[in-house]
Subunit: 266 residues, 2 copies
């Protein structure tokens, strides 16, 4: 690559973490220039012009100025152009198998975000059951195509790069919803997979503490940098840094902490 | 390929037509053994076991017995293994560009099906506006990446194979909703693209008459072989053949034709 690719992303975005995982696996962390966008502020007009009005992140700008959108499109693109062995399986059938698993990620991600953002205690059980159903579908898929594990194939690959940031994101469900995968054979294989994904060296970009603190506003139903009623500062604000803030209250249904209680005032 | 791939599909399924288009472009129509599944009857238990309980079609069974699901996964798989030049662009940036356009197909397909299945006259305008908005997004994309046209790149490619079956499917909106793309610059480029896609020799697998007759039940809100109230025979029934039946009534909001009126009785 003559010049570096630029990736515009929000801090700790899971869709961007996939790209960081790919680069870490290749030892090519410097191949992309990551630029952080503050979603709590109006979007820079120059970037907005480049993305032709859409605000979804991450986007990648090639050295030639082409803008690529969609996390999976960017991931597959970097997999083709960054130096080192491909993440995707070279065998067409094996690649189709990993692509089928990847196709389960959209509904899984949607269900996890809707679950954490739910504000109605009466809807909690239906969110939980939906989310667990998707885990059972993954378990079934892994049992059919890779019963021994831990990964879908011999090593951490494309499907793992896609799912691991979501498994880590959903730490917010452990914290705010006391979510845990139930024991039992319906979840045994996906539990093994998830654990192997999360423990992999190349996936250390985020911590549970950071996720839980930054996503407090999501747990109150406010996504994408929107402000919770009565608050002046988003939990995604860059300052004060998350390390300096206390852990938020776990109870998302009856409590709404103030900026001061969240350590968000300078 | 030592043995043929088998594709199980429903008659004139758009997700399966993509595969037929790919084979037609390669002159390899015989590389896949297509087996029609009658969705108006209970699913064959042997096929249900192979698909591990899911009923979505098409599925592909490789010569080695691996089952591949998801239309786009199967399309990309066949693109890699069937003899002849790839449909996908070999250049990684160009492939990312066609993949971004392909990512617009899911919402487009969903909007078109919800539009034809809508039974509430008061909701008609919002379905129309949503559908048109997706066309404007495609128009914008094509203007950014391929202002001259007619195709996204020099010739009919992967994105065209994905969208063309949907453009043809949505003949049912022309018939049952009097849908037509408005004049004007917001739609000019996508109109050109759509026309070039639909006119291509490799996409002749279906006719407007067939689509309109088979999808009558969808226009009454009944999908996937479900029976419309008061009817005994699905508009997707194999017999009597669609060629022998009259055109259904265009008015989907106040009329519900009988089996006899639809020519569905033997």
């Amino acid at each position: 690559m003559p010049n570096k690719h630029i990736v515009y992303h929000i801090p700790v975005c899971p869709f961007s973490q996939r790209l960081e995982i790919l680069l870490a696996l290749r030892g090519q962390e410097d191949a992309v220039d990551f630029r952080v966008v503050d979603i709590t502020k109006p979007r820079d007009p120059e970037l907005l012009a480049k993305t032709r009005g859409t605000t979804a992140l991450p986007v990648l700008e090639t050295a030639e100025g082409t803008i690529l959108k969609e996390s999976l499109v960017i991931l597959r693109y970097l997999d083709e152009v960054v130096k080192g062995p491909s993440l995707r399986r070279s065998d067409p059938v094996e690649h189709a198998i990993e692509s089928m698993l990847i196709a389960q990620e959209g509904p899984f991600t949607m269900a996890g975000y809707l679950f954490v953002m739910n504000r109605d205690p009466d809807q909690r059980d239906s969110h939980l059951e939906k989310f667990l159903g998707l885990y059972r579908t993954m378990n079934d898929f892994l049992m059919a195509h890779s019963p021994e594990g831990p990964f879908l194939f011999e090593s951490f690959g494309l499907a793992e790069a896609v799912f691991t940031p979501m498994f880590k994101r959903f730490w917010f469900l452990e914290y705010y919803e006391d979510f845990a995968l139930p024991d039992g054979p319906e979840y045994a294989r996906v539990r093994q997979w998830k654990a192997a994904c999360m423990a992999h060296d190349a996936t250390d970009q985020v911590s549970k503490e950071e996720i839980v603190k930054l996503y407090y506003d999501y747990a109150l139903g406010a996504g994408n940098g929107a402000l919770v009623e009565g608050r002046q500062v988003s939990s995604f604000a860059f300052n004060p840094p998350w390390q300096a803030r206390p852990w938020p209250p776990k109870d998302k249904y009856t409590t709404s902490a103030s900026d001061a209680e969240l350590g968000l005032l300078p």
